[in-house]
Amino acid sequence: MSLPTPYPIAPRPKGKLAINRLRERAPLTDAEVEEFLAEHEVPVVEGPRSTFLYRGRADAVAVLHRIVNQPQHVPMKRLDVLDGDPLWYVTIELPAHSRVEYQLEVRQGAAVEAVNDPLNPHVAHSPVGSSSVCQAAGYETPTWVLPQPESRPGELIDWDLPSKALRRTTHNRVYLPARFRRSSSYPLLVVHDGDDYITYAAMKTVLDNLIHHLDMAETIVLFSNPGDRLREYPNHAPHARHVTRELLPALEEELPVVRRSDARALMGASFGAVASLSTAFRSPDTWGNLFLQSGSFVFTDIGSDHGGGPAFDPVVKFMNRYRERPRRVADRMMITCGVYEPLIVPNRSMVPVFESTGAQVRYVESRDGHSWENWRDRLRDGLSWIFPGPQKLVYE
């Protein structure tokens, strides 16, 4: 089942844009520009229009954003300042509720540098580094990603496990929900890129909040971490063997987890989603639920030239083979993807393929990119669907 995300229309403010009001005061002084910058958050978001700014000497400045199917290099205009560095600006129309990652390209002579926006404190983290973020009109950080005093905190415990399959010791963390009791039984969620989910997607806080508010069942969560991520995650047999034949039995031995496939889930983002999918593919009937965020499900319909570089070779081989003969890998699949990331096309394409296997598929898109914040903001949709809490049954 695919879900359109309802976005309310952001109000369109009347009158001139702030940058245009400033331009009318030209010639500008340094003090006027500094006052303007002090008064406004950058980018300056006014209804659907966002004005990007840069202060400094350069030959050219441009916004490099990462919205797929849009010109990604947007030159900025120069506004001279009488007694100081020039101000560069450009206004871009962005749909309401968007989060757009971008950097500024500053050219000085032959030197070209892409930097995060020094005027914008908002930064997004992705597996390939950080970038600035423009939060368009209507976007708000969900309250459930922030620590809430009333939410009882769960516990994170370091948990190392030697792996014969991977020929290394794996470093994991186990999340035990608040008021954990050995006499109870809990569903199990195994998370790829675990430390990144904890650090960049606030996942422990999210778990604490969702469980406290009964949005999600009390769950034991295993945060696993890769060694060589680009080798272990794209359909790597030893990784799948480790997760299903080493990690799972060890967890079942150690902790009171429900020993049924419908009470188990694998999740991951980007290559971590591929690792989740391929692990479940290799062990049918073991993992009943998958939560796949911005999966790197790159495939080719003709030939094998995918343009993603050698890291994607095993992914493409796996996905092409899977698309030739799709079969059910899990009973329930939660898939999320940002509409501004290039992976939106393969993710959209895979939804009907997964549905054709008889799996129950829930697909959610967001006006966002390939970043931890996007994946963080979709956690509630996914986790509460995979392991729903008893909210509708509990009345205090």
Binding site: R179, R181, S183, S184, D215, R362, R380, D381, S384, W385, P388, P390, Q391, K392, L393, V394, Y395, E396
Partner: protein, 347 residues
């Protein structure tokens, strides 16, 4: 209808008192208001599941003159002592869950139909009203059938596995009966309504709380078409309940939450309750759980619960039912217009 004041001695003329949520507990004050201070209470905190025994605050509010029936713990002991019954009960719950899921799919489709009908720009508003009424009528029919099927499922379970004849259950029921017999009033807290009802049925708390009426109502309507819920069971001791406890005591248990993250936001009947009330559907914490400002939605909810009256149990609500288990005048209810009202006469 003449007013039915709360009697001075509730132990002589027992009533049910339904409260709003007790996050900031007022139960001690309520007990005093009802003239029950110093009485010995049986407490049922089964809805708290494995935290059932964490009842120190409740005991303090009741002046420590209370005994927790410990039904959740007893239930675990029964399952452990009688694995065959435990497995049968697990299967019953699985079938119930599946029934609930399929019933919900139907309700979702009906809600979608209502949404589309309401979006339609009418050439004649009566046509839209008729179409809405048709969908509501289908939903009510689905509600009734679902309750019947769940009732049949539970009946089959009790008929086939006869828990009342199994040693572990018989022993536990005897134990519970002894505990209740030694008390003068009962408190049923909130929590997980499914678990609570399961335990109340397994340990047969209904007869411990009230004697059944002489005549069971065959239909909620009398010949004139007005609501007729028949006589209520005669309470053996006063009962104070809130949250899931209030729902479990009433005739029909309606699950509701209009802002679920993943589940569809349509209210659904879970099963029949203990039916110690007459004409009441309890809705605890309505402002937190319902989109009260969406009048169409609330009107739909009121239409689905009719002829039972949806009782709104807000934070400081305190509603003592009449001797025949009905709502008293002044109770805050959801009107058929989708708005909250104070009940004018007893319902």
């Amino acid at each position: 209808m003449p007013a039915d004041p709360v009697p001075e001695d509730l132990t002589a003329d027992p009533r049910i008192t339904l409260l709003g949520p007790q996050r900031n507990p007022r139960i001690g004050q309520v007990v005093a208001d009802l003239g029950l201070a110093g009485r010995r209470f049986a407490t049922i905190t089964t809805g708290w599941r494995d935290r059932e025994a964490d009842d120190a605050l409740l005991a303090e509010q009741l002046g420590h003159r209370c005994v927790n029936l410990g039904l959740w713990q007893l239930m675990q002991e029964v399952w452990e002592a009688d694995p065959e019954l435990a497995e049968a009960d697990r299967r019953r719950r699985l079938v119930h869950t599946e029934m609930q899921e399929l019933y919900l799919i139907g309700l979702e489709q009906a809600v979608e139909a209502l949404r589309r009908i309401r979006q339609h720009t009418p050439r004649d508003p009566r046509v839209v009203e008729l179409a809405v009424e048709d969908v509501l009528s289908i939903m009510r029919e689905m509600d009734v059938r679902h309750l019947e099927r769940v009732g049949d499922l539970n009946h089959e379970f009790y008929a086939r596995w006869e828990p009342h004849h199994r040693d572990a259950v018989v022993t536990a029921r005897f134990h519970v009966g002894r505990l209740v017999a030694d008390t003068e009033a009962v408190v049923v807290t909130g929590g997980h309504v499914g678990v609570l009802l399961g335990a109340l049925h397994l340990f047969n708390l209904g007869p411990a709380l009230a004697t059944p009426p002489d005549v069971e109502p065959s239909t909620p309507f009398d010949r004139s078409g007005g609501p007729d819920f028949g006589p209520a069971p005669r309470l053996l001791r006063p009962i104070i309940a809130w949250g899931a406890g209030a729902m479990a005591l009433s005739e029909r248990v309606l699950l509701f939450y209009d802002d679920p993250v993943a589940a569809p936001g349509v209210s659904e009947l879970l099963m029949n309750g203990l039916a110690l009330t007459r004409g009441v559907v309890a809705l605890p914490s309505p402002r937190e759980r319902l989109l009260m400002r969406d009048q169409d939605r609330m009107r739909m909810l009121a239409a689905r619960t009719a002829p039972w009256t949806a009782l709104l149990l807000e934070e400081r609500a305190q509603v003592t039912l009449t001797a025949d288990g009905r709502l008293p005048a002044g109770a805050r209810v959801l009107g058929t217009d989708g708005l909250p009202h104070d009940l004018e006469g007893a319902a």
